[in-house]
């Protein structure tokens, strides 16, 4: 197992402090502005469209294990999709190849329908563990798209080569498709085959953006402060190396070459 060196420890403590500080600030009512993310704006539009057509939606939380950060972020998006669907009296089908995701997704969807006052609409059979491997799951999900005539597809989380196996059959059904992944190798496939794509860290910001919850917003602003620090270190490192050579004090301090 890898261990943190001093520089990593300082970075983790600093970033964690900034994120927690901004969360606490936001909870006290000082939430800031976050930019528009078109892919996430369209989620409500897609749910509304599926509801008008009287057809269900599919939510696919990726192929990552439940402890994967992308999967956790995707489950946050599922919470929002399920809440909106419950408010509109629509149906969400969740398909997964990860067994541990089944009870978690079931809990999220059930809670959403209960909070919306429509517990009768919740059906445990709509949370489906379809296959143990990604390619079989993609086929099975494509089958669900055809059979249930789904009108909106959401693909959020960690994806591998199966991304295209999921989205291309979905594209042919004519459903509106919104995807988001932190796996940048899969981003071009999603861009080519989905109507809207949420890229990289936008996936982690999705929960904050959709719920406008102060904790989430604060965390997002803390992330931005942390990124400003990373950017400053990169700029200072590049400038000092260019002007003073690779053995200057700043480079030695941050331990780039260690």
């Amino acid at each position: 197992m890898e261990h943190a060196n001093l520089q990593i420890l300082v970075a983790i403590v600093l970033f964690s402090f900034l994120i927690l500080w901004k969360i606490l600030t936001a909870r006290r009512g000082k939430a800031g502005f976050i930019r528009r993310i078109p892919g996430l704006n369209e989620i409500d539009e897609a749910i509304g469209r599926a509801t008008e057509m009287g057809r269900p939606m599919i939510f696919h939380p990726g192929v990552g294990e439940v402890q994967n950060v992308g999967t956790l972020a995707a489950l946050g998006v599922l919470g929002h999709v399920a809440r909106k669907a419950a408010q509109m009296g629509s149906r969400v089908i969740v398909t997964t190849a990860i067994p541990v995701v089944v009870p978690v997704a079931e809990d999220i969807v059930k809670q959403a329908y209960t909070q919306a006052g429509r517990p009768d609409l919740f059906n445990a059979e709509d949370i489906r563990f379809l296959a143990a491997s990604g390619d079989q799951l993609a086929l099975a999900t494509a089958n669900v798209m055809e059979r249930e005539k789904t009108a909106a597809h959401f693909f959020f989380g960690m994806y591998d080569y199966t991304s295209l196996l999921l989205t291309e059959p979905g594209q042919r059904t004519g459903a509106i498709q919104i995807a988001g992944t932190d796996q940048y190798f899969q981003v071009p496939f999603f861009i080519a085959s989905c109507d809207y794509t949420v890229i990289g860290e936008e996936l982690y910001a999705a929960s904050a953006y959709l719920t406008r919850d102060p904790t989430m917003l604060g965390s997002l602003i803390g992330q931005d402060y942390s990124k400003i620090i990373v950017l400053a270190v990169i700029l200072l490192g590049a400038l000092s190396t260019t002007l003073l050579g690779s053995q200057n004090l700043f480079v030695q301090l941050i331990g780039v070459y260690r």
């Binding site: 943190a4 067994p99 909070q115 949370i127 390619d135 295209l164 982690y204 803390g222 992330q223």
Partner: protein, 284 residues
């Protein structure tokens, strides 16, 4: 409420272990010795530290980390060391020693979840049969396949006999070729997706198509043949390499920084149970 607080407590403690395991060094820093191996006996490890030899008693609590050529440390037993190896040795901080056991605990939990997955599948398919939904007979096939798969799985590792035959038929002669078939579908999906992506509908799409065109032509001999008479910086292979390794790398690294900071934020929110909505209907 008690259940939520219990989940939050367990989440915090589990996260705390992994956090401490990562940030606490594997050996006590002020008692750790770094140097070059001179000799190793059953009882003593001799290191050269700053030009002087220093003997370290080999105790059960002693942990030795050898520096790989890449600089990353690997844990080794003292008996595996050779003179000239660069090592750090010191008494353990114990946290890393428990890592395998803690990981095994989560593997066991994960294995239990497979049962839940099977229950979920059984619920869907038994309901299909009970309600005679369209193609309900496929659900009957599902139960037959699960039964057959379990029986065939018993033949895993067998050297001969009908169970081995069954295992071969199900896993090697059926599942494997079917998986390859599904994988091969990707080629066709890529073709249709690329066709759609290459339709110039906006400025961004035009930019994407142009860069894809340069990269594709730059990867094949015809690209060089078409542009060999131009100055080198205008030749397609050079432009393709620039797009791939300069422009693309900058964008990808930018994404990586954002994602890593984002991962810390999501990890913190879950660790401290600040994430609302997913597991808790209100903040704790």
């Amino acid at each position: 409420m008690t259940k939520r607080r219990f989940i939050a407590l367990v989440t915090f403690l589990a996260g705390l272990y992994y956090f401490l395991e990562f940030v606490v060094p594997p050996t006590v820093p002020w008692r750790t010795v770094r140097g070059e191996v001179v000799s190793v006996t059953a009882d003593f490890l001799t290191l050269r530290v700053d030009g002087q030899e220093r003997q370290i008693l080999i105790e059960p609590t002693l942990k030795v980390y050898r520096e790989r050529p890449t600089g990353a440390p690997e844990q080794v037993e003292p008996s595996q060391l050779r003179p000239g190896d660069h090592v750090s040795a010191g008494p353990t901080t114990y946290l890393s020693d428990w890592l395998t056991s803690v990981n095994s605990f989560f593997i066991v939990l994960g294995a239990m979840a497979w049962g839940m997955g099977l229950i979920s599948l059984a619920m869907v398919h038994s309901s299909n049969i009970r309600r005679r939904r369209p193609e309900w007979y496929s659900s009957v096939l599902f139960f037959l396949a699960v039964g057959g798969g379990i029986v065939a799985g018993l033949g895993y590792g067998a050297q001969s006999g009908w169970l081995k035959e069954a295992n071969d038929v199900v896993f090697n002669y059926l599942l494997r070729p079917m998986s390859s078939t599904v994988f091969s579908l990707l080629a066709f999906h890529m073709a249709t997706a690329s066709y759609r992506a290459f339709r110039v509908k906006s400025g961004e799409a035009a930019l994407m198509m142009t860069s894809a065109f340069i990269v594709m032509l730059g990867q094949i001999p015809i690209g060089l043949w078409l542009t060999h008479s131009l100055p080198s910086f205008l030749q397609l292979p050079v432009m393709a390499q620039w797009i791939l390794y300069i422009a693309n790398s900058a964008a990808v690294r930018g994404m990586w920084f954002g994602m890593m900071v984002g991962a810390i934020a999501v990890g913190l929110r879950f660790w401290l149970s600040l994430e609302r909505g997913a597991f808790f209907d209100r903040e704790l």
